[in-house]
């Protein structure tokens, strides 16, 4: 059976898992870390860096280091969230050809799914190294409150990374899956997921039959740890300005250092009550005088700065309970997911709201990836013990007369589902209707997300209101929306499968996938070369270490000096080849001769 990996593609960190012998495990990266920063950078030399290494060089290369790309995925250029991101991050966010968002790194412009794909590709490689085999199938998670365009963009990212994304599942759902997996419990749980970029709350019923049913879900796709960091940064900027009268905003490097320091302080304040932020030589003034940023920040201060953000999440939770018709007493356990839930204030407020201490049994950074891995293995299993019943997080409907939004499938409807409504023409002799498929909660059509559109033509000319059209919505288990419109009189039908737009055309995605594959091949080759030169390096080192001893021993023998000269030649040749670079085959020969030389040396010594 083919393996399916589960990837938690996070705003700040990503994580990959796989189910082995029925047990889900998180796969560590080469550095031994279980999570990998979702950071992509391009160096001056044009080299692509991903993960920890990209994070480390961010300060000196902030303009070409993409952080929190997930906050931009599937969004339109003119959306307020994009405007906020432009102000918040140092890298260049530019407008794409389809009013989508692109990112400029050095000379090249990348789409957001391409950037995410780089991270996914890294996760794929981590899994392949661990499993020792090629991996093509994956379940990727996304925030529950993502709309279809954002989900499609996430899928496209997978495709570009060379992955067959068999399902995109919601992060809180995945967390619940990992939480309840193999436990045989009957429980109604709330999953509070405050991550780097997004907030989600989901209520789930878990049955001992292995069924996980999402009851309700809500959230904010632009509320997370990044916003907490931003509050600290703003405070530091204000403090610094008050102290020195200098606005650090103008200095990109200073800003990046502030960002790092803010994030670090935030994390520390989860464990201690006070911490110091110390950034020497943060900026130099015109008179060649260096300024230092040094200040104390307390936990109380942090809570004061971010109190409203926590409050927002609590309000959303209360609202969701309300909408689901549930009382806090009905909730039997609370699961905390996402790094931000380590903040004591968050835990306290959540405990206050649900009137119970949150469950401590899951790892907030890894649980989502584990759940994705479980879902992946369960989907492909012959006979599965686990069944996930997910919901559509947003209301689906069409635009009707007056620019209003007419819902067909309300939010929190368990999928698969379908719904039909009859509509009628509004003008005399109207021969066509345009069906605009929308997603969102606003009464006004324009405030909702447009998923697709099509036209039903050939209606009979008749006074308004006489011709009737049935509009049907269908969501299948994969979350794919199909919409059809049918003229009840003549039976004419038009339908579309709504491929939400990720901001990229199919051709673009295909091309990007090819590019990314090429990159992967090149990178693999690069790694191969790296490995051989490393080996050569070691061999040369050893040979040179033994050289004086061997020279001593063989000096008197007949072929001794000749052999030594030859050995020296081999080493010299290898050095030269490594400097200038030679074809793989030649490098192999060089390695062989190095090995032979070393063997000979060793033989002499014994």
């Amino acid at each position: 059976m083919e393996r399916v990996i589960g990837i938690d593609l996070g705003t700040t960190n990503s994580c990959v898992s796989v189910v082995e012998e029925g047990v889900p495990v998180v796969i560590p990266n080469r550095g031994g870390y279980k999570t990998t920063p979702s950071i992509v950078a391009v160096t001056e030399a044009g080299k692509r860096l991903i993960g920890h290494i990209a994070k480390r060089q961010a300060i000196t290369n902030s303009e070409n280091t993409v952080i929190a790309a997930k906050r931009l995925i599937g969004r339109k250029w003119n959306s307020p969230q994009v405007a906020t991101s432009i102000a918040m991050y140092q890298y260049h966010i530019v407008e794409g050809p389809h009013a989508d968002v692109r990112i400029q790194l050095r000379e090249k412009i990348y789409s957001v799914p391409e950037v995410s794909a780089m991270i996914l590709q890294e996760m794929k490689i981590i899994a392949e190294d661990y499993l020792g085999e090629e991996v093509t199938k994956a379940v990727i998670t996304c925030p529950a409150y993502f709309n279809d365009n954002q989900r499609q963009a996430t899928k496209d990212s997978g495709l570009i990374a060379g992955l067959d994304v068999i399902r995109v599942i919601n992060e809180p759902t995945a967390a619940a899956l990992a939480y309840g997996f193999g436990k045989k419990i009957d429980r109604l749980v709330a999953v509070y997921d405050l991550g780097g970029g997004t907030f989600d709350i989901s209520l789930l019923e878990i049955g001992s039959e292995g069924v996980f049913k999402v009851v309700s879900t809500a959230g904010d796709t632009f509320l997370g740890g990044e916003d907490f960091d931003a509050r600290i940064i703003d405070w530091l900027l204000a403090e610094f300005q008050a102290q020195h009268g200098v606005d650090l905003r103008q200095d990109r490097m200073a800003m990046q250092r502030l960002k790092d320091a803010a994030e670090k302080a935030k994390c520390e304040l989860s464990a201690t009550r006070q911490t110091e932020i110390n950034l020497p030589f943060i900026i130099s003034t015109g008179r060649n005088e260096a300024l230092h940023l040094q200040c104390q920040i307390t936990r109380d201060k942090l809570e004061e700065l971010t109190g409203d953000l926590v409050q927002q999440t609590i309000d959303i939770c209360a609202n969701t309970l309300d909408e689901a018709g549930l009382d806090v007493e009905d909730i039997e356990d609370v699961v905390l997911v996402g790094g931000m839930t380590r903040m004591p204030k968050v835990q306290e407020r959540v405990a206050d709201l649900f009137k119970r201490e949150p469950c401590k049994g899951v790892h907030p950074d890894e649980v989502v990836a584990l759940g994705a891995g479980i879902q992946g293995s369960m989907l492909v299993a012959e006979k599965s013990d686990v069944m996930l019943l997910d919901v559509t997080p947003h209301t689906l409907g069409i635009m009707v007369v007056g620019g209003f939004f007419e819902p067909l499938i309300p939010k929190d409807t368990t999928v698969p589902t379908s719904q039909t409504k009859t509509f009628t023409t509004v003008r005399d002799n109207q021969t066509a209707v345009k069906i605009l498929v929308l997603q969102g909660e606003s009464d006004k059509a324009e405030e909702n997300e447009l998923l697709g559109e099509f036209v039903l033509t050939g209606l009979r000319r008749a006074p308004k209101g006489e011709v009737e059209i049935d509009v049907s919505f269908e969501i299948n288990a994969d979350g794919i929306v199909a919409v059809s419109a049918r003229d009840l009189e003549n039976g004419q039908e038009q339908s579309i499968t709504v491929t939400a737009s990720s901001g990229l055309t199919k051709e673009e995605v295909k091309e990007m996938a090819e590019n990314s594959h090429e990159y992967l091949v090149e990178r693999r080759r690069g790694e191969e070369t790296e490995k051989t030169s490393q080996e050569a390096e070691t061999l040369i080192g050893e040979i040179e270490r033994y050289m004086p001893q061997v020279e001593e021993i063989v000096r008197g023998s007949e072929h001794g000096p000749e052999a030594i000269t030859k050995a020296k030649e081999v080493v010299e040749h290898a050095r030269g080849a490594m400097r200038s670079g030679v074809p793989d085959a030649e490098m192999k020969e060089i390695l062989d001769s190095l090995r032979r030389t070393l063997r000979m040396f060793k033989a002499v010594l014994t």
Binding site: M387, K421, T422, L488
Partner: protein
């Protein structure tokens, strides 16, 4: 051995033979007696208890004698499928057919496909069937039938008093089996749609039953449905009796007795079949319950056949309907909603699914039985139409009605009172009767109103409207009923003059209510009569000068006027 055809063939009698004069063996006679044009060869084997070869021989001979025809028959209308199930397969042989009655209905060769299955779907289904194991196919078929015919409790297989945890467990068990993900990666073709349909229905059942409020409403709905059905029966019984009074007694009495016997037999047979399928004994009244919510009948389907533009007839002539100027960029406006259970694009078949058909005929059977019983009892007591005895009969009905009222059988009360009054009552009895009638109508109005609200909640506007109109009929002085009716017409967006009349009635009954007035304003706006809307809005504002919603409506009316 020459085969007479495939096991799915349905032999039919040619007719006109005189069975006693034919040179038949007992086996052949037995086979011939069971051939009714509905039973397939495979079923005949079960019914007659003959081996395949014996049956074949008998059939061949019957064909030779030109007594029967074989070959797969084109759709013969299924008049009484219930009778077919009354013939229980003998237990002595392992059945090659799935044993559950539901699945036999689809497996049988003469049954039409489930009403909303498209022909293309049927072709796919055959391909897909090969990907499914016989057991899987049987389960899917069984549940597809169930999903669209039985009530939510029986669909999930729980008792009416089941605890929430029990309901959840039942649903989760079924969800695990019928969620399309259970067949992930398998090419099962059209069966995937069937799974989706089953899953949708069990999910709906669970969602209704898992919440205290909606469950209470649903229970009320079932109860109300039973009561209203009871009322229909009693009313029809009365009509039948009326008819009897105008026809010679003798013939009618015999007919009634015969009908009673026949109906009783049918009804009992159907109930047996139904109960054995559901494996839980349920009262016969509940057995008659059709699929829920009831298939959208009169308002949505019949009017759909003869569409009527929203006609503001009866409105002042100064406001021509052409006043509406919809925005050019948009195309459609919401109208009616078929029941959520009806899949896309297929009009509800008038016959309903076979199971519903069976249920209907079962209901028919019961109805006829009750009618016949009443007739029989009336006839027993009278013998001849003597005015003196009529009075006594009226009293009897009144007593029955009062007893029924104690049992909260309001539908029955209504019917019995009607009968009592028509047969004649004394002065005092008439007062009692009218009091009782008042109570019954009030109760029926309340029940209908609840049904309407519930149906509206499920999105079944057609049924909701029907119930709301009934509520108005029973309780014509309840403003809320009229307002509900008006709002439903408005939501459906047809025959807005009816909406206007109902809204006006509500205001007449409760002139102080702003909400009712707002309904009327909305009706006028929808009909494109901004002047009237303005007038009403101003009247409403006179009652409550700073109502924001009314002000918004007034602004809309002004805008529309310009």
């Amino acid at each position: 051995m020459p085969r007479t055809g495939s096991r799915n063939d349905v032999p039919r009698r040619i007719g006109g033979e005189r069975i006693r004069e034919l040179p038949l063996t007992p086996a052949e006679g037995r086979v011939l007696a069971q051939i009714d044009g509905l039973t397939s060869v495979a079923d005949l084997e079960l019914v007659t208890g003959l081996t395949a070869d014996e049956l074949d021989l008998a059939l061949t001979r019957l064909v030779e004698l030109r007594l029967i025809q074989t070959g797969a028959t084109a759709a013969i209308p299924v008049r009484l499928p219930a009778v077919r199930h009354a013939v229980a397969p003998p237990p002595r042989r392992t059945s090659p057919q799935p044993p559950a009655p539901e699945s036999r209905q689809t497996a049988g060769p003469i049954q039409p496909l489930p009403a909303d299955e498209s022909p293309a779907g049927a072709a796919d289904a055959r391909d897909a069937d090969e990907a499914l194991s016989p057991e899987e196919r049987r389960r899917i078929e069984t549940f597809l039938m169930r999903a669209e015919s039985v009530d939510f409790y029986r669909l999930l297989g729980v008792s009416r008093g089941a605890e929430r945890a029990e309901i959840r467990s039942a649903y989760f068990g079924l969800a695990k089996e019928f969620h399309p993900d259970a067949y992930y990666g398998r090419d099962i073709g059209e069966a995937r749609h069937r799974l989706e349909r089953i899953f949708r229905q069990i999910t709906r059942a669970y969602e209704v039953l898992s919440r205290a409020k909606s469950r209470r409403e649903y229970d009320e709905y079932i109860k109300g449905q039973a009561i209203l059905q009871g009322r229909d029966e009693e009313e029809q019984a009365w009509q039948a009796e009326e008819q009897r009074r105008q026809t010679p007694y003798g013939a009618k009495a015999t007919e009634a007795a015969r009908d009673a016997a026949h109906a009783k037999q049918e009804a009992a047979a159907t109930r047996d079949a139904a109960t054995s399928a559901a494996s839980s004994p349920v009262s016969p009244v509940l057995d008659e319950l059709p699929s829920w919510p009831p298939p959208a009948t009169t308002p949505s389907t019949t009017t759909a056949a003869t569409p009527q533009p929203p006609s503001p007839t009866g409105a002042p002539a100064s406001e021509p309907p052409s006043a509406t100027t919809p925005s050019a960029s948009t195309a459609a406006t919401p109208r009616t909603v078929p029941p959520p259970g009806t899949p896309a694009g297929v009009p509800p078949s008038p016959a309903g699914t076979p199971a519903v058909g069976a249920r209907r005929s079962a209901a028919d059977g019961w109805q006829r039985l009750r009618m016949a019983r009443q007739l029989a009892s009336v006839l027993r007591r009278s013998g001849a139409p003597e005015p003196a005895k009529d009075e006594k009969r009226g009293t009897d009905y009144l007593t029955d009605a009062e007893a029924a009222a104690k049992n909260e059988e309001w539908g029955r009360v209504f019917g019995l009172l009607e009968a009592a009054e028509k047969l004649g009552l004394s002065e005092a009895e008439l007062t009692r009767a009218s009091e009782l009638r008042e109570r019954a109508t009030r109760e029926l109005a309340r029940i209908s109103f609840n049904q309407a609200r519930f149906s509206e909640g499920t999105g079944d506007l057609g049924a909701a409207l029907q119930h709301a109109e009934n509520a108005c009929r029973y309780g014509p002085d309840n403003a809320e009923c009229w307002d509900a009716t008006a709002r439903l017409w408005l939501r459906i967006g047809r025959e807005l003059h009816k909406a206007r009349d109902a809204a006006a009635k509500a205001i007449l009954l409760a002139p102080q209510s702003i909400a009712f007035r707002m309904t009327l304003i909305r009706v006028y706006l929808a009909a494109g009569l901004p002047k009237n809307a303005r007038r009403e809005a101003e009247a409403a504002l006179a009652l409550k000068p700073d109502d924001k919603q009314v002000k918004a409506l007034l602004a809309e009316a002004r805008e529309q006027h310009e």
